[in-house]
Symmetry: D2
Subunit: 352 residues, 4 copies
């Protein structure tokens, strides 16, 4: 009976959409996971904590339960507060990271450097052919259900964005990224898979990149509205508050998909599990109940999970836990994210 | 160690806004609570189950944790389904019960009987003086936050209602109830207590009765969207999804308050407690862990509650559990309730 | 100087999306337009007036300024009133006409007859091959801008509809039409043409028919919210409140397009023209001003139009006139239309 | 026949809510109106044009058709554009003017100066007694119908505001203004007069000042979304897009009312009148029609108005003209105004 076993309690396969939380569940094992590279840093001014999890190979992918790729999280507890200046700082940080990720995903085309030397332009030219150089066409997909508050982040971000793709024809020179956007709704509203709708629109409008915004489920309540995850792997089946059934990835959609996600709910099962974990600690600290605590902690994770499922069933399928002021959080975050996208695609100051 | 003790686990003072659920927590004790009268019946056609809990005296009030008065619940599992005809049946039942309760609250004035004999009219005349006879003026208050889906029931009902109070002056004869309505918002949106706003409006517009619609918190997930509670006691402090801080009662507002509530959330603590209750059963059924199960079950309810609170703290203050299709439920229910009110106040067929 | 000339005033090419109004502008000429067939009838019970304008050839198309095809209008002044039973009657009529038009457009496949004999089924089989028989797949497109009240009809109808296409996979037998729906937004919101979005979705989801719902511009204020136009010609460039720039027709989208339109605005220019028409009458009735009245009435329609344009410019580009209670009209109409579609595609009683 | 007569055409009593436009209708007479003082200046940096119309006595009030008081307008054509920095500048200007007006209305209490010398504080003390000094309590009323786009400005501004009144009790020191807010809806939604609702709330919550935000009707299309009017006279009967029937003034509500209005519609009659004015000019310039032009121009304004009314009736009661992108304008303006209020009441930089 040691630390490892106890920690294994929190490695129950309870659902999280955050790679960061998958990663944390291994920390009891020394923190090293084969095939996974970790990098952490803190931004000086804003005190935002950034964590980059790179899943390098299939071994890492299996351990993490997520596909290979880069997962970057910005953690900023003050995001919950109504502080415009702070939100503007976070938008700036987000813009920088977005731009970096987009350039990597677009093959280092240097798309966003207005004064880009011939090299950048020529690289782009070589890579894509049809697109001589310059600015990418980006389709922003605001996933989720606009009439369910915690699931409305994506549609709200799209509602805030300044679309530019349609301005081309009006004689405007191609001096900036071409932004288009859609909030495709959820299956109950449309009768269609989000993947079907996006696939069709992409085939017709041929963007270079899709940015998919989605509300996520986290493991921990303290992440709600305080963490932004960027990833170049797109959206996986089963992820998001609305539980997407199909993947939205480069493989399925034909163009690279940068996903921006913010946790706005915690699965009810996660909450129960946290409480049980805490209960086990209490039981093991008492002489009378130590045996039971050990007994539960000593169960195989699979069996523990089974136990919780049995206790919860049948009421606990898809229930979500959310704080009552979620409307304010989602509204503020939608502005921070749309501002971050604006800076990343339209402005010089984005990163440097 | 007997059944009683086990049952006491579920009498943790975890919050429910339903008198029905308070009542159920006593069932292990034989079901009889002093000062509380219970009546149950099932409607033949619609299979709606009706339960009337009357809290008759202060002893009953203390046992139930709710003020003296009548609490009527309609339970209809099919309310979750999208069946217009069924919803229309429920609206009819609701109308009948609403009318009955309103007439009791308005002193048997027989307000709604168009062909009312002289008796009814004269009673009314004696009681109120200023209002000769006839139709009451009703202010409908749609409590809650319209931008948080599970808390938006009240504002939605008000949005569906046909207001008539302002038509008086346009020469329309007083042949029907005068309906007015307001969705006062929540304190974070207005900076004011709901009670302050309503008190002011009531003083100015002088309704005979307030109908307050609110989204409630239940103990059990299966009540979400399937139960409608009517009560003549108004709204108590601490109740509702938005946790009203002040009471909305005849005492505080100066006019009788009929409250219509539908549970749309379950407190996260209730979910945890349910799981723990189930866990205790499991523990007691195993030889190894029986001692622990007994130990927990044997704790004083107060201590048990304290234990859960400690396990949950600090993350679990005001978290709510809600199903992901809550938007559809709330939309449908808001139509059922507004239709019920329309029939109760405007139509003959209401009851009979 | 005779009646014809005066009438020609109202044949100014001021924009209307209603074939009925185009047709009316010819009535001064005896009412006969070559290449255009007219049929009118009144429904006994609901007193709805139905008018079918069939544009039979290119001569008719040129005269009417609309493509060849069938244009059916339902006129019902009481639609403006809040009378649920009446709205329900109109929904029934609408359902019948919709069903008739859909069956014509789908090649008489008899798609909606549940008890269809072998003939109907086999016809369908021969025609499409892949689709053995039975019920069609319909994509409903709610055109317009949900955040501009008079342009929000389409998105609202889609929001009311019961989608069924995604239920196929859940083992539900193909016993009803497969409905899917999308509110694609307007170009300023998405950066994309509506036609692009729909083309992509159609290519991916392969519906048999598109139903496009749109808010229209009428010539006459009294049509606002009282007239429903059905047509098998789809949506033309320049039509709709939002002024669609591209056509949504079988030619452009690859599947037949049934358009449902309701006028919710009148162009400001139309209002001015009406006033001028009335002024001319006044002028001609006075001895002093008769000469001027005759002078204006005697102008070539082109010159009259030019005069008005000059008077209105530059302020009068895209201004719309709308009544202040448009929100209620649009809300009610959206329920009537979605109910009509439901009955047309799901129910037996639709037609008979 | 001279300039005066022609000008009188545009002095038809067609409705405008802008004092600026009332004032302009006198400009043909030399611009001097007895009892009305005019001051105009242009802000150097933002190029905002400010006009202050002071109606000094009953003679001025009669001439202008508006009550005595101060009417300040900010005109900024670029407000229609999506330029965040510019909007932020306008918000700053608005804040300065709001603060100045509020201080005048609150009796020079110097409420907003944190470092206010003893004089300011003592004055306040003397004036009100109960309120020792310091920060005022302000109720912001967002008038209009949130579901009719051009009438939704008021409710949107209230939705953007940071309420603080309810924070008092949580131990927060009175270091800032106490803001509360309500969007009372329109009579068709509530069955109550806006004045009744506000009167009640004011009686209950006792603010020092009401700020009422409303969408206005202008005479000229070019004012739509480009002009902000501030006045210390409150809201008059018949004003606003929704046509308030009762006044909201210090006299009727018991506290001073600062009204902020932005034109979002033009009455359809105004549009027609503009066109007729232009037509008259055309008629008078032609030899054939000069007589008619003179005849119309020579009519008494009352008779002209009657003529237009007759031409327009019965269709033209309450029709409004609005541009199709009004949703974007109203959204942006609501942020500019709420930001202006925030700076005026919470920040130091507001004025200086």
């Amino acid at each position: 009976m040691d630390g490892k076993k106890t920690e294994s309690v929190s490695s129950f396969p309870v659902r999280t959409d955050l790679a960061l939380e998958n990663r944390e569940s291994f920390e009891g094992d020394g923190g090293e996971v084969s095939g996974v590279a970790l990098r952490e840093w803190v931004h000086k001014k804003s005190r935002v904590k950034l964590t980059e999890v790179k899943i390098l190979n299939s071994q890492g992918a299996q351990a993490m339960g997520k596909p290979m790729g880069t997962y970057l999280t910005l953690e900023a507890n003050q995001l919950l507060k109504e502080d415009e200046e702070y939100h503007s700082q976070i938008a700036g940080e987000l813009a920088g990271e977005l731009r970096r990720l987009m350039e990597e995903m677009l093959g280092g085309r240097g798309c966003f450097r207005k004064t880009g030397g011939p090299g950048g332009g020529q690289n782009g030219e070589k890579k894509k052919g049809k697109k001589k150089k310059g600015f990418p066409a980006i389709l922003v997909a605001g996933l989720g259900n606009s009439s369910v508050t915690p699931d409305s982040l994506g549609p709200r971000v799209v509602g805030n964005l300044r679309m530019t793709r349609h301005l081309r024809e009006f004689g405007q020179r191609e001096e900036a990224a071409q932004i288009s956007g859609i909030a495709p709704g959820v299956m109950a509203q449309t009768g269609m898979e989000t993947a079907e709708i996006l696939k069709g629109i992409i085939r017709e409008t041929k963007p270079d990149l899709v940015i998919a915004i989605d509300a996520l489920a986290a493991r921990s309540v303290r992440r709600l509205g305080t963490t932004i995850q960027l990833t170049d792997t797109g959206i996986q089946p089963g992820s998001g508050v609305g539980n997407h059934r199909h993947s939205l990835t480069e493989e399925s959609l034909g163009v690279p998909v940068l996903a921006i996600g913010v946790p706005t709910v915690v699965g009810a099962a996660a909450i129960v599990q946290d409480t049980l974990s805490a209960l086990i600690q209490v039981l093991r600290n008492s002489r009378i109940t130590k045996k039971t605590g050990d007994w539960i902690a000593g169960m195989e994770p699979e069996d523990q999970y089974q136990l919780i499922r049995e206790l919860l069933e049948p009421e606990f399928g898809p229930l979500y836990v959310t704080p009552p002021d979620i409307d304010q959080s989602v509204k503020r975050l939608s502005f921070t994210i749309s501002e971050g996208i604006h800076q990343a695609v339209f402005e010089e100051k984005g990163r440097e």
